[in-house]
């Protein structure tokens, strides 16, 4: 396949983490392109021409009603078939960060790839307020997602910046998520264990879930922002800590490199 996989960075009103997400994919060797949702609706651009669909963070449509809802409804109303076809292809990946994760959950693509049937949700942080801070996460070694290749059990430090990030699902759904190893990352405490303690778990997410994938591992959503740590200097403590984890790279970068590698060699 071509040397640089095409990444669709979806923009709409209120998208605001698009630039750094594109930069992260570019750093990893991809070819990111900004596509406004109106470009898709008016067919100036086609989803099928891309390898990766990336939904950036932000406040799509002002997070009116609830976060990510309006965009989720737009996607399922206008692109349901296109989306189904896209995620059904074995050579594509889909990632949603923060608001993008909220959209993926509200379209039903996560956790079980059931478009229009929403099975989990992301609700207001337990603290009742927006939270911007660095937090530690552990990557689930049992999840086989291509995004997480060779990262099992790694402890990474990412930024969170959200007000509606508490992962919530009915008990049965949670059990299924656990059983199928769909949990991708969990908030952890100083000792490295999943935690419900604030602020280490910044939103009170059930089972400390910060990110999940679908069963194929090709759809991935997470609240923290790996794209904000793809350069050493984006992390203020690089002066006092050595970056041993995540292959010694800036902690967010391997996720994007894995994605690009996957598309190149499948």
């Amino acid at each position: 396949m071509q040397t640089k996989p095409n990444v669709l960075i979806l923009r709409t009103e209120g998208t605001n983490c698009d630039e750094e997400l594109a930069f992260a994919f570019a750093q990893a060797g991809g070819n990111p392109q900004f596509v406004h949702v109106n470009d898709l609706r008016e067919k100036r651009k086609r989803l099928k021409d891309f390898n990766i669909l990336a939904l950036p963070g932000g406040f799509s449509y002002g997070d009116d009603v609830v976060s990510g809802k309006i965009l989720a409804v737009e996607l399922t109303s206008f692109f349901e078939e296109e989306l189904k076809k896209f995620v059904g292809r074995k050579d594509t990946l889909t990632i949603g960060v923060c608001n993008g994760f909220q959209v993926l959950v509200r379209t039903g693509l996560l956790p079980f790839n059931t478009p229009e049937n929403m099975q989990a949700t992301l609700v207001n942080n337990d603290s009742g307020h927006f939270e911007c801070r660095w937090i530690k996460l552990r990557i689930n070694d049992k999840n086989n997602s291509p995004f997480l290749k060779d990262l099992g059990n790694t402890i990474v430090t990412y930024q969170v910046a959200h007000g509606e990030g508490k992962f919530f699902a009915p008990k049965k759904t949670l059990a299924a998520i656990g059983k199928k190893h769909l949990v991708a990352l969990q908030y952890i405490d100083e000792k490295g264990n999943p935690t419900q303690q604030y602020p280490e778990n910044p939103n009170g997410a059930l089972h400390a879930i910060a990110g999940i994938t679908d069963e194929t591992g090709r759809i991935f959503g997470l609240m923290p922002h790996p794209e904000r740590f793809v350069l050493k200097q984006q992390y203020p403590n690089w002066r006092r800590e050595t970056l041993r984890q995540a292959q010694g790279k800036p902690h967010g970068l391997p996720i994007f490199e894995n994605a690009i590698e996957f598309c190149k060699y499948i």
């Binding site: 630039e19 801070r133 910046a161």
Partner: protein, 941 residues
């Protein structure tokens, strides 16, 4: 536009009207009314005039007994007209039927409304008639109202007014003084006509202190000596240091050179008056406005960083001490923070840096300063100019009645009536609207669609379009401006300060392209008119002339003032104690108690809970956030960002202010503020020689004494530029920090000079944070401290004492110190750096320990002639604590500047202080940390 269909009975004085007249004459004997006519009015939006005509014939008017008009009055001009309609928001039961019928006729209006016009003939005045209408209950005031007349442009009989009448007209509305009102009067006398409401409003906006900076442009007589205007002095000195300047004082922000054919820009704005009466909305529109200033720079810059600096009365201020008409400070603080949070986070511009200051006298009016910073290709960085034939395009939000009189209002003083009289002056913000507008404009810029850009801030269209057309003139058709709801009068559309609107000058050949770009981003673009060679500001609403002013008079008709400044005979600061002294702490308990009080002082305590509410890393550019260190809770000194993600170049942003010191000594206090901004700047690795400054003056109303202190402060800024050889390239003044209560209370809010610094560095990896990095490294105090000058310090404040002399900063030594620190960081010779400011040496050291999760042992032996408490708590700006691995390195890097060894870092988390052989005290960092974090946690977690 809205089509208005009017329908009238053909027979004069038909029966229904006669019976109404009878009722009136029964109830109101004195009413001199001899006839009534009634007209039914239908307003329909979203249809053409032809369609309106068709509907009038088919639906609204039965021509056997009625006549109709479209967009014209039917009532005789000699009668007094009242239009009664449902209040906005009240459901009009007729509307659904009209809509249905219109649809059935194949016409699809978007909105419909109906009302009635009553015309009264006779001698009765408008006021008498209004009283009468209420008495006879012609309408139900719960759901109906007398609708303000919409289209006729009102003419104000200015030319025949007496001085008293001119003053009355100006008060509460125009905020111009008599001399200015008379200048306007003379202009219209010469034209042999009276001004329209819109013309007066336009002049009041353009000539407001907020827009015209009359005080800064005035010739001054200071203590009997004539001096050049403040603005001239600042500009003249600034332009002596222009090697990095791209544009200064001419655009919406100051622009300086960056790398790789890029430029960076910065602007700081105050938003005090709106924040005082509606803090959430005020803070939002403050952020929105300053972001539009950056967008409105050159041909359009991209916002990449912001700062927020607030001054409030201390939380928990006794409500009994709050002046009438002001809001409690805790509420103000929380709501302002919430406004900044919701606007900044949503629009996706990081809030990188800020500070919070408390003083009791801010209870009358807070100071809210918001800064924004951007990047722009250098080729587009100069202010654009419209060409003859360019189109005037309004992009973004719709126009409503919000924010009318914002510019004139913020130029007025706060009184106990401000909240009730001027509530309309506060706008509401919509960050998403602004974000999509920015997205569209930046794309339009890159496609050559923009010749010039101006944001709609204070004064709305009138200022933005008036400024853009200053040189060549412009014609505008206000009916083309999309409105939020109907019923706005032309002058209201013209001066409304509705948010999120930008005016562009667009070359004709690019109009289709611009429309397409805007459509793609779901942004409304309205073509309002054209720049032409008329040198006039010519505004129409349909066929009515709304405004026809000479640009020359509008922009240059205001004569410069001469103002008098006089040194106060006695200090207006009340010293709380006669003695300039406090007891030296003796025991370990004494020391710990003092330290606890200082660290929990509002100006010192940790602001982390606020920072966590702001997204300070969105866009991925952040290199040094507000807090870093082992547990991410050590405060840093300044922000460093990476404007171009793919390049190593950095932008440094910092600021400094100290309202207490500027009040005590406007000159030295201002030097302190400027020094603090650069001390913060170099602490993170910034090279001050590659920086530019922004000055914001928030001063009490410029009476003679306050003007004297303002003059002193400007002298300080000019001297500072001269000593450091760097320019101020942008600034703003807000001279209304005075509160006047009904009972005669006058509160002069402490004068604030806030200096912001921004600039470039070649490599973001050559930067520094304040957290201690290692055990057993050496700590040095760098710079020249003025230990005896404790006036205005936090240490004195905890004794409720102000003091007399404030720290004097040597402008000879300062540049060398700043350079030494910056070079040491660039050469990677130091482990951590933190500047000393409020709270003094011990506070800075404590913060470094927090960041490093380490302790320190220091010895005051080298300061043997000084009081130990003064050494530890003195607040001389431009001094630093530096962590260095060994003595040899320290000697090498600091040989040319004053430096003293303080002690060593250690693993044990205590700070131990010795004075030679004598052990002074030690203190537990964890328990101090609790005290330091508690105040803001209480408010925000």
């Amino acid at each position: 536009m809205i089509q208005k269909i009017r329908v009238k009975e053909l027979q004069k004085h038909i029966k229904a009207n006669e019976s109404l007249l009878k009722d009136i004459n029964q109830l109101v004997t004195s009413a001199a009314i001899n006839g009534i006519e009634v007209v039914k009015v239908y307003r329909l939006d979203g249809i053409t005039k032809q369609q309106a005509d068709f509907l009038a014939q088919k639906l609204f008017c039965e021509q056997i007994t009625q006549s109709y008009s479209v967009n014209k009055y039917l009532l005789d001009k000699s009668c007094t007209v009242f239009e009664i309609s449902y209040k906005p928001g009240v459901m009009n039961p007729e509307v659904a039927s009209i809509l249905k019928s219109a649809h059935d006729l194949g016409i699809h209006p978007t909105t419909v409304d109906t009302s009635k016009e009553y015309g009264f003939f006779g001698e009765a005045t408008r006021e008498e008639l209004e009283q009468m209408l209420l008495r006879i209950k012609l309408f139900n005031p719960l759901i109906e109202y007398i609708r303000p007349t919409d289209d006729p442009v009102a003419t104000i009989p200015l030319t025949i007014m007496t001085d008293d009448e001119l003053i009355e007209l100006s008060a509460d509305k125009l905020f111009l003084n008599l001399e200015e009102m008379k200048t306007i009067q003379r202009y219209f006398k010469k034209l042999k006509r009276n001004p329209t409401d819109a013309e007066l409003e336009t002049l009041a906006q353009t000539w407001s202190e907020h827009c015209a900076h009359k005080t800064f442009k005035a010739t001054l007589i200071v203590d009997g000596k004539k001096r050049k205007p403040l603005m001239t002095r600042i500009k003249n000195q600034a332009l002596k240091h222009k090697k990095n300047i791209v544009s200064a004082f001419v655009d919406n922000s100051g622009v300086m050179d960056f790398y790789d054919d890029q430029a960076i820009c910065g602007k700081a704005e105050t938003h005090n008056s709106p924040s005082a009466i509606e803090p959430y909305g005020g803070a939002m529109t403050g952020s929105g406005g300053v972001f539009r200033d950056v967008l409105g720079t050159g041909l359009g810059a991209k916002n990449i960083a912001s700062t927020d600096i607030f001054c409030f009365a201390p939380p928990g201020t006794d409500p009994a001490t709050l002046p009438l008409g002001t809001l409690p400070p805790d509420y103000l603080l929380k709501r302002v923070v919430a406004g900044v949070r919701d606007y900044g986070n949503r629009i996706g511009i990081p809030t990188n840096n800020g500070s919070l200051h408390f003083h009791h006298d801010f209870r009358a009016k807070p100071t809210v300063i918001v800064g924004a910073y951007g990047i722009i290709p250098k080729a587009m960085a100069k202010k654009g100019e419209p060409k003859i034939g360019d189109l005037v395009v309004a992009v973004g939000g719709r126009t409503g009645r919000d924010g009318i009189h914002g510019a004139t209002f913020s130029s007025g003083e706060m009184t106990d009536r401000t909240i009730s009289v001027n509530a309309q002056a506060v706008q509401i913000g919509n960050a998403i609207e602004e974000k999509r507008t920015f997205d569209a404009i930046l794309e339009a810029r890159d496609n050559g669609c923009i010749h010039a850009i101006q944001d709609c801030g204070a004064g709305g269209f009138s200022s933005a379009i008036g400024e853009l057309g200053e040189q060549i003139g412009v014609t505008i058709h206000l009916e083309k401006a999309p409105v939020k709801y109907e019923g706005l009068r032309p002058w209201e559309i013209w001066v409304s300060e509705s948010q999120e609107r930008i005016i562009l000058a667009v070359p004709k050949i690019k109009q289709t392209e611009l429309r397409q770009i805007c459509k793609r981003y779901n942004v409304e673009a309205s073509f309002l008119g054209e720049f032409n060679g008329s040198k006039k500001l010519h505004v129409f609403y349909e066929d009515e002339i709304v405004c026809n002013l000479d640009m020359e008079f509008l922009h240059h008709g205001l004569s410069h003032r001469t103002m008098i400044a006089t040194k106060p005979s006695t200090s207006n600061v009340v010293l709380n104690r006669s003695q300039d002294d406090v007891p030296t702490p003796k025991t370990k308990q004494d020391w710990n108690q003092v330290l606890g009080k200082i660290l929990s002082h509002g100006n010192i305590c940790s602001k982390e809970p606020i920072v966590r509410l702001y997204d300070h890393t969105v866009q991925g550019r952040n290199v040094i956030p507000p807090y870093s260190g082992a547990q991410m809770d050590g405060p840093t000194d300044a922000a460093v960002i990476r404007p171009l993600l793919e390049k190593p170049y950095g932008m440094v942003i910092s600021h400094g202010l100290n309202p207490i010191l500027t009040r005590l000594d406007p000159y030295q206090g201002s030097i302190w503020a400027a020094t603090e901004s650069l001390a913060n700047y170099v602490s993170v690795g910034g090279n001050y020689k590659e920086s530019s400054l922004i000055n914001n003056y928030i001063w009490p109303f410029p009476d003679e004494e306050n003007l004297w202190s303002l003059d002193q402060s400007v002298n300080a800024v000019v001297d500072f530029m001269s000593a450091l050889q760097i320019p101020v390239i942008s600034g703003k003044d807000s001279l209304s920090s005075t509160y006047r209560g009904k009972d005669g209370t006058v509160i002069r809010i402490p004068p604030v000079l806030c200096i912001s610094a921004f600039g470039r560095i070649p490599d973001v990896s050559k930067t520094m944070t304040s957290d201690l990095k290692k055990e057993n490294s050496l700590l040095y105090l760098i710079g020249k401290s003025d230990f005896d000058a404790m006036g205005g310090s936090t240490y004195f404040d905890i004794y409720n004492l102000v003091g007399k002399s404030i720290p004097k900063i040597s402008l000879q030594v300062l540049p060398k110190v700043l350079e030494a620190i910056q070079k040491a960081i660039a050469n990677e010779q130091v482990l951590s750096v933190h500047d000393i400011s409020e709270g003094g040496v011990l506070t800075s050291l404590f913060e470094m320990c927090v960041g490093g999760n380490l302790g320190a042992a220091i010895d005051l032996k080298p300061f043997k002639n000084q009081r130990p408490d003064y050494v530890l708590f003195n607040e001389t700006a431009g001094t630093f604590i530096v962590e260095v691995a060994d003595e040899k390195t320290a000697k090498k890097i600091f040989s040319a500047v004053p430096y003293t060894v303080l002690g060593k870092t250690q693993k044990r988390k205590i700070i131990a202080v010795n004075n030679g052989p004598q052990k002074l005290f030690d203190t537990n960092i964890e328990s101090l940390k609790k005290l330091w974090k508690e105040p803001m946690q209480k408010l925000f977690v």
